[in-house]
């Protein structure tokens, strides 16, 4: 097999060009990929029905809900071998050709080379417990999902550590935040929700996102990116690709709710999980409309939900943003409803590798609220409230990272 040395000048040239592009992209993350076709030469065949994602995705989401409700079931069926010793013969492999720079110690032997009974693999990949969702009319203290079960960590047991929400793993490992991606919902051909006075969700989200970006850039050394800078159509999968390409550490998607059947103003913030109720399902259906994911891709993506760090941090970030938004907007609208931190199967939250939240910052169907959303001053205020939430999320994180104080998370939620 080593006779397959690639001497093709063309291949080498293409590879060198890609390396140059990758390095240039380090400096300029918006630089387009040179040749997408070349980069994705993993030629696993595409599953049929690539663009029928949403309906199947929701069905899969409901299935996951049942999995969540049975935590004893492992999430994945990865190929974990508890006993990797079998008696298969490998005579055909024993005579591999060798190059000058390679050697092998593989010699056919009748005796087992390793006492495989001593080589074991633990299956650690189980579902993260999803906190229960409170009903809508809760107070701010009640509504915050509590991710801190009351049991302690045995430092010597990684199983317990990984499955224990008592410790934020980013804190434990001192992981920092450098890059934040803000995602203005909808855009271009997709206006999102439209208020009675014609205000479009896509305009509000873009403006608030720009204001938030400016605020964060003024006061911090973070790299801040918007998934869309202008009024342009952008699929959810493209937003996700962009976010992952810039190696985001946090992802915040901004949306505006619409509930025409009730004249209320609401604020709610989501992280990824199974739908908790009909209303959430409705919202997810609306926000997932342009996801462009296939059902096969969705199934693959759903396996990532066991990512403890992302889940923990998403909950913490959602909590801080929701708290800040509600506590501050309540000063301007005493009747605003706090719908709290919730879980929903938003596609854009699932495939982003960083902790990700989706915030419904307002409700455009409420006439008075729509009027306010049309003022730059109010949009600036909303941006500042989200900013406060982000800073609140980051601040205790830095303190914890320095002090190694696990209890800080309990105090700060």
């Amino acid at each position: 097999m080593l006779g397959q040395k690639a001497n093709s000048k063309t291949l080498k040239k293409a590879i060198l060009e890609e390396i140059r592009e990758d390095n240039l992209r380090l400096v300029d993350p918006r630089r387009p990929f040179l040749n997408t076709a070349t980069r994705s030469t993993r030629t696993k065949p595409n599953t049929p029905g690539r663009f029928i994602g949403l309906a199947l995705a929701l069905v899969a989401g409901l299935s996951i809900f049942f999995l969540f409700s049975r935590p004893e079931l492992p999430l994945t069926t990865s190929r974990l071998h508890s006993d990797i010793d079998t008696s298969q013969q490998l005579a055909q492999n024993a005579s591999l050709p060798l190059s000058d720079s390679l050697s092998t110690d593989a010699v056919p032997s009748k005796e087992p080379l390793v006492d495989h009974s001593k080589v074991t693999i633990k299956n650690n990949q189980t579902m993260d417990p999803v906190p229960p969702i409170d009903n809508y009319q809760t107070t701010i203290n009640d509504m915050v999902t509590d991710p801190t079960p009351a049991y302690s960590v045995d430092a010597g047991d990684y199983d317990i550590l990984i499955n224990n929400n008592d410790v934020r793993l980013t804190t434990l490992f001192g992981l920092g935040v450098r890059t934040i991606v803000i995602d203005p919902g909808h855009g271009g051909k997709d206006p999102g929700a439209i208020g009675a006075q014609g205000t479009m969700e896509k305009e509000v989200t873009l403006d608030v996102a720009h204001r938030l970006k400016n605020r964060l850039e003024e006061k911090s050394a973070f790299n801040i990116y918007l998934t869309r800078e202008t009024d342009e159509t952008m699929s959810l999968s493209d937003r996700v690709k962009f976010t992952n390409a810039v190696d985001a550490d946090l992802f915040i998607s901004i949306h505006v709710n619409s509930i025409p059947e009730a004249s209320i103003n609401t604020i709610e913030t989501y992280y990824f999980g199974p739908p908790s109720d009909e209303e959430t399902l409705r919202l997810a259906k609306r926000e997932n409309a342009d996801s462009m994911y296939s059902s096969a891709e969705f199934k693959k993506l759903i396996q990532k939900i066991g990512n403890t760090i992302k889940q923990q941090e998403s909950i913490a970030l959602a909590t801080k943003i929701q708290r800040s938004l509600f506590a501050n907007i309540k000063k301007y609208d005493k009747d605003v409803h706090n719908w709290g931190v919730k879980v929903a199967p938003f596609m854009v939250l699932l495939d982003v590798e960083a902790p990700a939240v989706l915030s419904e910052i307002s409700c455009i169907s409420e006439p008075e609220e729509e009027k306010k959303l049309n003022t730059a001053d109010y949009r600036e205020k909303i941006a500042s409230f989200i900013e406060k939430g982000i800073i609140a999320y980051l601040t205790p994180k830095q303190v914890q990272a320095q002090r190694g104080d696990k209890d800080e998370f309990k105090k700060n939620g």
Partner: protein, 340 residues
């Protein structure tokens, strides 16, 4: 932009920055390596004792009591936010270049290998940290550099077993994407910890430290059946006593195997079914961990349960990454460098 004359006189280097050891290969055919340690004298007395303002590698280790010692490349990348470590890695790079540099003012072009799944922030950190010492620099995935050096660019898998990380990379005729690469952290340092704990448990009265354990590993590591008993002399109440550590070495070395096998199987399973056999038949082990006796046989046998498998190791694990990075650097067209 460099003139042709400058190009001719450029020093081109490939660098493998490792948690444990760092290596450099140059177009002048010089090769050097150092243990990835950097130390600064603690005070003016220490400065007088060691006679230098900064020490590297073995020399730094030997004088560690007089030094503020840094092992800056945790998992092969710059530890973020720790200025001392950032300074250390810069000094280490400069030291490596100095070891192969003939003339002081020669312009340096470098390709640096980093772990497969290094964060972009770390790649940027490396680029900026070394910019003052180089005219131009590119960062590539470490296992990819190994593959390039071996010209194993198609239907091959490189597994680079280092101290801080084990990097996996499937080569299929193009630059590997994130999907083609994995990094796991149960690597050489993990073996050291396992061995240290096992020896402490079995021989509680014996006196030894982690550095000694690391030396035992490098000298005796094996999986499977031992060729001969592993015996070492350890002080017990200041008296050297022979201890048999065969089982402990075996168990510590085998502790990294499940994760290696599982990750290898996962990467292969995600690949096009028509090419899975070819990949499984062309697995190349690199890095210091590839020198563990019996590891090729073990992997070949275990992976062979899924289909025909072939596992080999590079002959020069210390320089395979640096040599590959150098090959890349030498092949890089002139215009690509000038854009950097």
């Amino acid at each position: 932009m460099s003139s042709k004359k400058t190009v001719k006189n450029n020093l081109i280097v490939g660098v493998d920055l490792g948690t444990s050891r760092s290596a450099i290969s140059a177009n002048t055919r010089k090769k050097r390596w150092v243990d990835s340690y950097v130390g600064w004298p603690k005070d003016f007395i220490a400065r007088k004792v060691v006679g230098k303002s900064v020490l590297f590698g073995e020399e730094a280790l030997a004088n560690r009591l007089s030094l503020v010692l840094s092992r800056p490349l945790a998992h092969g990348v710059i530890k973020e936010g720790i200025k001392r470590d950032e300074e250390a890695v810069r000094a280490l790079f400069n030291h490596l270049v100095g070891l192969v540099k003939a003339k002081k003012n020669t312009a340096v072009r470098a390709v640096v290998g980093v772990p497969a799944e290094s964060l972009k922030a770390n790649k940027i950190a490396i680029k900026s940290a070394f910019s003052e010492y180089t005219e131009s620099l590119m960062v590539v995935s470490e296992p990819f550099a190994v593959a390039y050096g071996l010209e194993a660019l198609n239907n091959a898998m490189i597994i680079d077993i280092g101290a801080g990380t084990i990097d996996f990379c499937i080569m299929h005729g193009t630059v590997p994407t994130d999907e083609d690469q994995r990094t796991i952290l149960t690597a050489g340092d993990y073996i050291d910890e396992q061995l240290f704990n096992a020896l402490k448990a079995r021989y509680p009265n014996a006196d030894f430290n982690m550095e000694m354990v690391c030396q035992f590993k490098e000298k005796f590591s094996f999986v499977g059946q031992p060729e001969e008993p592993v015996e070492v002399d350890l002080p017990v109440a200041a008296k050297l006593t022979t201890h048999n550590i065969t089982e402990e070495v075996k168990n510590a070395c085998e502790s990294i195997l499940p994760a290696i096998i599982e990750t290898t199987q996962e990467l292969i399973a995600n690949f096009d079914p028509q090419f899975q056999n070819k990949i499984r038949n062309n697995i190349i082990l690199a890095g210091g961990g590839s020198q563990i006796k019996g590891i090729c046989s073990f992997m070949q046998k275990t992976l062979g349960e899924d289909g025909p498998a072939g596992v080999q190791r590079v002959k020069d694990p210390l320089f395979a990454g640096a040599d590959g990075a150098l090959a890349l650097a030498k092949d890089m067209p002139e215009s690509y460098w000038s854009e950097e």
